[in-house]
Symmetry: C2
Subunit: 514 residues, 2 copies
């Protein structure tokens, strides 16, 4: 068995089910091994930013490590921006990166590069396999490391000669030490404070925004009256009718402060205290008001779900029914396209258990509020602020959950970063409906410019914020990649197109000119 074969068999034995990839010559022996192992599904993307974003979306929904196979330093480099987002989502990803044969490296041929250096900014574990018998063990340890709580990025570099040589050994994934609870005193202290200080709120992250974790939070909220918040950049939020309602802290700092206004105790679970993305010239960027006491209950690497379970117990709330969002029948609106009308249409038509992947930026911020009482659904956000995450994540989420509908909401500027994802949706026949909010602008930037206080943008700045002239035509772009698409001019047309899209057997795209 060669090294490549031992690598792939170790991945399979370790429970890895999907390999998102764009391989090259140095990975050819690994491709030959993938060819022999259909039980590890290979998903091709035409650009590595799609590969890494899909891995992120997959890991968020599958709750297990995603695997990528990338070509040398440049292939890894192309994946970095969405690895940035994935690192902020704290999901487990193992990147396999091919490298030149060890004896070829000193020749400094054109594709030679510092792969380790490229990996390091976003991988907390980087290893280069040093011999064929070690490849299996390295992959197994990489899988294990990626599952280090709360979820991390690991990168394994495999030189071609080490992959093609004989002597490979399949290795078992070492057991992963689960997350630990914070000290009992911390939990009891928070329980006391939650009883004493009003109004209070929990800031939830990681596993506490869905499933059992969210139920515990809902029980605590029911027992104490504490509000539940999510940071603006959350990994996976379960919501809709019957689910404990969680409010997202808004992106603009003034709105974030308004949302937290009056809160006297903010208990942070699995996250860090919330701040604005960018500094303002006035200095303070904390979202919580200065009179609010911040209490870190669980760090991201701690067992935040178990922590909430124990907190509920300490509060005597472990059998209290969690607070639950009321189902809301939302009428399909009519009239011209508007952010609120679009949000209502989506909320009205959202199918049960849909996965909404959102990067609709300035135009789509109303959707969460409107869809709170819609059919239960998962919501995935851009966690790292590097745009171009939504369409790739939609690919990964759809691969992870073939029985669920994926609704991908993307701004036009964000979508252009990784539009190649549309092709993979078509290739794999994924049930993803992509809605493009086409305002032909980097809307965030125009607003930030106005905040500078230097007046309206002049002709040069205006051109740098406009992605019109020429206008992007998303219907053609989608068609070019085999995805049926249409442009709508009214809310009625949008509702018709969305209904059809959400019933189709493959991907489709709807462009909303705003």
């Amino acid at each position: 068995m060669n090294g490549a074969e031992s690598l792939v068999r170790t991945l399979v034995a370790g429970g890895v089910e999907v390999c998102f990839t764009n391989p090259g010559t140095s990975e050819m022996h690994i491709v030959a091994a993938l060819d022999r192992h259909p039980e590890l599904r290979s998903v091709l993307a035409l650009f590595e930013g799609v590969v890494s974003g899909a891995a992120d979306g997959y890991a968020r929904m599958a709750g297990k490590p995603a695997c990528t196979l990338l070509h040398l330093g440049p292939g890894l480099a192309n994946s970095l921006a969405n690895l940035h987002n994935a690192s902020r989502a704290r999901v487990p990803i193992l990147n396999i990166v091919g490298e030149h044969a060890t004896f070829h490296l000193p020749l400094d041929t054109p594709l030679s590069s510092d792969i380790r250096g490229i990996a390091q900014p976003y991988s907390l574990w980087v290893r280069s396999s040093r011999s064929t018998p070690e490849v299996g063990r390295d992959a197994a340890e990489g899988i294990a490391f990626s599952q280090t709580p709360p979820g991390r990025i690991a990168t394994l570099i495999v030189p071609a000669d080490i992959a093609w040589s004989e002597g490979g050994k399949v290795s078992e994934v070492p057991s992963v030490v689960g997350p630990s609870l914070p000290a009992t005193g911390t939990i009891e202290n928070v329980a006391r404070k939650l009883k004493a200080i009003q109004p209070a709120a929990l800031l939830l992250a990681g596993g506490t925004l869905h499933g059992e974790g969210l139920k515990h939070a809902g029980r605590i909220a029911a027992a104490t009256g504490a509000k539940l918040f999510a940071p603006y950049p959350f990994t996976r939020l379960e919501r809709g009718a019957g689910t404990p309602p969680v409010e997202r802290i808004p992106y603009p700092l003034d709105q974030a402060r308004e949302a937290l206004k009056g809160i006297r105790l903010l208990v942070v679970v699995g996250s860090i205290p919330p701040h604005a993305y960018f500094a303002s010239q006035s200095g303070n960027s904390a979202c919580a008001p200065s009179e609010c006491e911040l209490q870190i209950l669980a760090k991201p690497e701690e067992d935040s779900v178990g922590t909430l379970e124990n907190l509920a117990l300490a509060l005597g709330a472990n059998t209290v029914p969690p607070i639950a969002e009321k189902p809301q029948r939302i009428a399909i609106p009519a009239g011209p396209l508007s952010p609120n009308g679009i949000a209502a249409t989506i909320a009205a038509l959202l199918p049960e258990n849909a996965i909404v992947v959102d990067e609709s930026m300035t135009q789509g911020r109303g959707i969460l509020a409107v869809a709170r009482g819609a059919s239960p659904h998962d919501f995935l956000a851009n966690t790292g602020g590097s745009i171009g995450a939504a369409m790739p994540m939609a690919v990964g989420a759809a691969v992870a959950c073939p029985d669920q509908r994926v609704l991908c909401l993307s701004a036009d500027g964000s979508g252009m970063y990784t539009l190649q994802a549309l092709w993979t949706m078509a290739r794999e026949g994924l049930k993803v409906t992509t809605v493009i909010f086409s305002n032909r602008a980097y809307g965030v930037l125009k607003r930030e410019f106005l905040n500078l206080g230097v007046g309206e943008p002049g002709p040069i700045a205006s051109q740098l914020f406009s992605i019109g002239s020429p206008d992007l035509d998303w219907v053609s772009l989608a068609k070019g990649m085999g995805v049926p698409a249409g442009r709508v001019a009214s809310l009625e047309e949008f509702a018709t197109a969305l209904k059809r899209g959400l019933q189709s057997q493959g991907p489709c795209l709807i462009e909303l000119p705003l």
Copy 2:
């Protein structure tokens, strides 16, 4: 004057004329400064891989430093793959990368990242400005460093508060120490060898593949009978009727060896000895036959043009007319689309002083041979092997040389990496004709797989090499970004479309289904 203003004024004073960019919030003060300085042309791209590839193409043709403005770590990360190619092209590039305000960094907000770590693999100079009065000096030193022979990548990180604070100072670019000549003994030694050893050849790179450098090489060839070669990955090759003919060493190792067969002395000028891109399992990947003596005349960082001038002098060849390619009237062929027919059509229709940017991969390798006697033109190749270089480089070349026609030849797989370049061509009205060789496959990979000796690719590998199912429709993709496009079915149709494209006042695209 704030730091951003001093930065932009320093760039202008230092002779920087174009800034390729995709800015974000942290660069807003720099955008405001660009807004006040139309003499520094701002060119927007919708993805940073286009930004860096355009900088590469610009620097190759303008022969002066290109400048990029990028948003934080992820923006820089997206630019890396084409910076990889640019680093191999040895061109001068200064990246300006915005960073969070210094007081914001400890908060570890979503877009925080290790920008220095991301820059280092491809930047030999990385600096983060530490105070507002130093930004101008830092930029000036970055410009100077980028011009360190033969041309390097420098990255300047500018924290937002340092850009927005008052106290900026415009700085003068320090003088750059030019490249030095190799020891006189080395040149005389090579002159002796060139007289004594036959057949001999020069392997040219950098400045010796165009202009005066190439003329010196042509004189040496005329005087000694030495053949002239370029490595497969060359930066800029001047060719066509009247130009000293240079043969490119082919990509496949067996063809490379065939090209150099019988050569007993290979004099390497401004380059390193040529090897195959990838190792073969049999080990030896040197392009030159073992009986060929390799003589390094000038290293990449040395003055290779001056070296050839002195070598011509040492050979008494400094007044000899350079060898020159004979003009060749190439007939426009007819019939079905074929690689040779396409090459002949291009060669026949190539306008005077065209810039050909080539990444046509497996399908376009015949073009150089057929176009050798065509109208004089420049030829830019992918130097680093990271695909997705051609369309961005075409943008940069067209910005650098508005009076020259740019013909961009791209494979479909390569083109998909950075297809957003088409939008910038349309936005800027660039006279770029893009020809897509649409074979719907990663053709190189299929061949490499067959070389493994494990038989034909099975269903999984076949899908990983195919970029069909669904087929890409480049006419729609181009239309989606505002570039007029057509698909042709015969050489006659191709000739008609190419003629029209080469006369249009803006970009166009021609898809060749193969």
